[in-house]
């Protein structure tokens, strides 16, 4: 599970849909990837920056900027590289994603998050 994905994921329970989910007991790995500036430039406008800050802080990346990069910052290579690392290269290999509202826990095992729900959760 990567950080970029967590910015597009809510609680799967129909009546809840709380966002963002919170990482707990997260075991992180860093995997270096080819730098893809174009992708970062495209995805920035689609990110929920406030929620990304919450996630980043929870994972211990507290140096994320307070405001969403725009205009000149979108062409600043260092800013793009830092975001590339946070969004795509940090992998959450083990742990849980916890819903802040309904408390449901989603397991992450070996990099794969499981969002299937048990039948009593109003299917």
């Amino acid at each position: 599970m990567k950080v970029v994905t967590s910015n597009f994921i809510t609680c799967a329970v129909k009546d809840c849909k709380s966002f963002p989910l919170h990482f707990r007991d997260a075991k992180l790995e860093l995997q270096e990837l080819d730098f893809q500036a174009e992708f970062i430039q495209n995805i920035i406008p689609r990110l929920d920056w406030d929620k990304l800050q919450i996630t980043a802080n929870e994972l211990g990346f507290s140096n994320i900027s307070d405001t969403k990069p725009n205009d000149d910052a979108l062409n600043n290579e260092q800013i793009l590289r830092d975001l590339h690392k946070l969004l795509l290269e940090v992998q959450i290999m083990e742990g849980k994603l916890i819903c802040g509202d309904c408390g449901h826990e989603y397991m992450i095992k070996e990099g794969i998050a499981n969002f299937l729900l048990p039948s009593h959760l109003g299917l």
Partner: protein, 474 residues
């Protein structure tokens, strides 16, 4: 300007939509001036040579593109046409090295005939050397005959029908660029590490990626990812990919070293990747892999918001792979189950209950999902099977999505279609009055819910019964 395209004679109904998709991706408008489903040659109008090269470079179904130097139904007219169109270009080509190729579709020539055909163009006055390997310029004489696919012979006589012996159309083209047909070999399923019975072949996944406008910087998602064939194809063209599946085993694969230990994803000791990711690694495109996760489309965790550039999917048909969503068939399981005080669904090895899913419901859910998550002009490419006895094909529609193209791959008693949709800008609505107004039959079992499955199997049973009757008669 007019250009000649030489297509492969494969997946005929995909050829024009692929070229149109690639033209719109590159920002050009393409017009087909001549197209015949029986012919490999087509004439298109594009703004200039740069556009022609850009459009063809990614095409899987086009082999080459040429500047059109002439077209006619016989050689006298062709020569006149070539003189009229190109005589002003000849002097610049006087000294270049060149070669001529005669490409006869559904016809053939002896070496002498071929030489005579080439010699008949001597009036262009090229004085440069003829070079068969890597010439500066290549010219192709393309002849199109009536093939016996187009005009099946009624009698079994050895003499070809007279109209089959003369070409019905001849083109002269100056070669510009190749398509991308050669990459089909690179992505051949036979050489891929991780596949399953329902993996789609390289050719069709690459075409799908072209129709969906996969390109660098874009984010793609496949809600029925399986072994990730579409992801790999979209990644080849530069898009980044997420995928999910209701059954994690389909994208994880089995790792023989750790089966039974609930650790089949990535062995910590060997560091081996899950199946899906190993495919990306095999092709050197691991940086295009974003994520795979376990989820169900009817209870998707993906948030509403326009952030996907493309959605590509081949949803299960319910024939080889069952159609399933979360839930229970008989409405049981509405209470939380505790084992030793711990909710059962948090225990290792818990399997969420699933129930059969309606075929129409699934397709409508995909369209609704796409309308909520695609960016404006983002594309949805969805494969859909139909049994051949369906009287009138009705395509699923959604007011936010415009149908761009529908292509068909026919099989014996069923066929599947690739439907490409475009997400309309907010405020624009597509006409859905002709759309599918059908809903699934009611029921709890797969055969009740899935009309395609029912037709597919009843037909086979009928056929079987017929064959048995036959053997009885004999």
């Amino acid at each position: 300007m007019e250009f000649l395209i030489r297509f492969a004679q494969a997946h005929e109904t995909f050829r024009q939509p692929e070229i149109e998709a690639l033209a719109s991706l590159a920002g050009y408008k393409v017009d087909f001036l001549y197209y015949d489903k029986f012919s490999p040659y087509a004439v298109v109008k594009l703004p200039d040579e740069a556009a022609a090269r850009a459009v063809i470079s990614r095409s899987i179904l086009a082999k080459d593109i040429f500047s059109l130097w002439g077209q006619a139904t016989n050689y006298d007219d062709l020569h006149a046409n070539v003189r009229r169109r190109t005589s002003h270009l000849w002097k610049d080509l006087k000294q270049v090295s060149f070669r001529f190729t005669v490409d006869a579709f559904a016809g053939k020539h002896t070496a002498e005939e071929t030489r005579d055909i080439i010699q008949s163009f001597a009036y262009v006055g090229f004085e440069g050397p003829v070079r068969l390997k890597n010439p500066d310029e290549q010219f192709w004489v393309c002849e199109e005959y009536i093939s016996d696919v187009e005009a099946p012979r009624s009698t079994r006589s050895a003499e070809p029908m007279p109209q089959l012996t003369r070409p019905k159309r001849i083109f002269l083209g100056r070669w510009l660029a190749h398509g991308s047909r050669d990459i089909m070999g690179k992505y051949d399923l036979k050489k891929r590490k991780f596949i399953s019975t329902t993996s789609m072949d390289a050719e069709l996944t690459l075409i799908t990626a072209n129709m969906a406008h996969a390109a660098p910087g874009k984010l793609f998602y496949d809600p029925f990812v399986g072994t990730g064939s579409f992801c790999v194809a979209a990644a080849h063209f530069g898009a980044l990919n997420m995928g999910s599946d209701i059954d994690a085993r389909s994208f994880k694969g089995k790792d023989p070293a750790t089966v039974g230990n609930n650790k089949q994803v990535r062995d910590v000791r060997t560091g081996r990747s899950i199946g899906l990711l190993s495919n990306f690694e095999q092709y050197g495109i691991a940086s295009k892999y974003v994520d795979a996760f376990t989820s169900d489309l009817t209870n998707t965790p993906i948030r509403v918001g326009q952030f996907l550039d493309g959605i590509v999917c081949d949803p299960p048909y319910g024939v080889r792979e069952g159609l399933r969503v979360l839930g229970t068939r008989d409405g049981r399981g509405t209470e939380e189950v505790l084992i030793d005080g711990v909710p059962a669904h948090y225990l290792p090895g818990y399997i969420a209950p699933k129930k059969p899913y309606g075929f129409e419901a699934m397709q409508n859910d995909i369209l609704t999902f796409a309308s909520r998550t695609l960016v404006t002009d983002g594309r949805l490419c969805m494969w859909m099977p139909t049994s051949n006895d369906e009287v009138e094909l009705v395509i699923p529609m959604h007011p936010d999505l415009e149908i761009v193209s529908v292509s068909v791959q026919p099989f014996n008693n069923w066929s599947r279609r690739l439907i490409t949709y475009r997400r309309l800008p907010e405020g624009q609505v597509s006409d859905v009055s002709l759309g599918r107004q059908k809903y699934d039959a009611q029921g709890n079992y797969a055969d009740d819910l899935n009309e395609f499955r029912r037709k597919y199997f009843t037909k086979n049973e009928k056929k079987l019964a017929k064959e048995q009757e036959k053997t009885h008669d004999e």
